[in-house]
Symmetry: C2
DNA sequence: TTCGTTGCAAAAGGTTTGCATACCA
DNA sequence: TGGTATGCAAACCTTTTGCAACGAA
């Protein structure tokens, strides 16, 4: 599915953070895998699945790696409704917005040109400096909506 | 500035939450006052200022009141970059978005018709159900930008 | 060897909850 | 009186931090 093996990609990315370590490679690899299958993941769930995969990495290290990655612009960070930070590996460097399923967590990038335009517009006319925007869309994806749950 | 005294307004609103209590009235009044002067406030800061004003209300009660208010649609809730929940009293019942100053916390409602349109559009074409959106704009207001800080 | 990184456990910070008491209706 | 709201403190959760041991360059 990928033009390059995850391991090589992860190794490459780790170098960008500073010193190469096995742990960072493991975390990054897991983050990239998660990106392909579900999109955003929390540090805790990533840590849990690493333990299950017999690739034990300290929770602190997971946090530190993800934070460094986010700071380096290689990951998007959002907050779910519970206040937990969710991370998503970002292959490219462009600004994107996603529609996230509240049931299964799957995320889907959406076209957001008009939002970008609007945000730029507000920034220009408001008199405020250094205007940034956060846009989060949530909903229930077709899979989760049609199958089990019949509430509401 | 208001067509009605805060106390009366607060009393009125409290009734909507259920049983009337002095504490809820106090919290609501403080929230309304905060809305007029600074916009969003955290539960903790509201609690602190109530203590200072010799109107002691338990922190739990502040949280419970604010949560109930938010659930009843009478308050907007956002999360700051630290993960703290910020509440803002909402006089009307319409959906609004704000541009918030990261320095002083002052907030300013912005015209967001195009965002609403865009969100509705995404909701319609995505196949997702119950699509909701969160839009947060942050920046540095003219007052904070021109005076002290000369960074960037 | 050097110095950044790891891992553990404890701290921190915000929010929620259990339970006895107080009080509105 | 009956039942809901309060207040305190302890529990909870996620995230951060101190520090000794480890390992990449």
């Amino acid at each position: 599915m990928n033009s390059r093996p995850r391991v090589a990609l992860a190794t490459e990315e780790v170098s960008l953070l500073g010193r190469f370590t096995q742990q960072r490679a493991i975390v990054l690899e897991a983050l990239i895998e998660a990106e392909e299958t579900e999109g955003f993941v929390s540090a805790r769930s990533l840590h849990t699945r690493l333990l299950a995969a017999h690739a034990p990495v300290g929770l602190s290290t997971v946090y530190r790696t993800l934070s460094a990655l986010a700071e380096a612009g290689r990951a998007d960070v959002i907050r779910d409704m519970h206040g937990e930070r969710l991370f998503r590996y970002r292959p490219g460097s462009d600004h994107r917005h996603y529609l996230i399923c509240t049931e299964c967590g799957v995320s889907m990038p959406v076209d957001s040109d008009s939002v970008e335009t609007w945000a730029a517009d507000v920034a220009r006319t408001s008199g405020f400096a250094d205007v940034r925007h956060t846009v989060e869309l949530t909903g229930v994806c077709p899979d989760c909506g049609t199958s089990g749950d019949g509430s509401s």
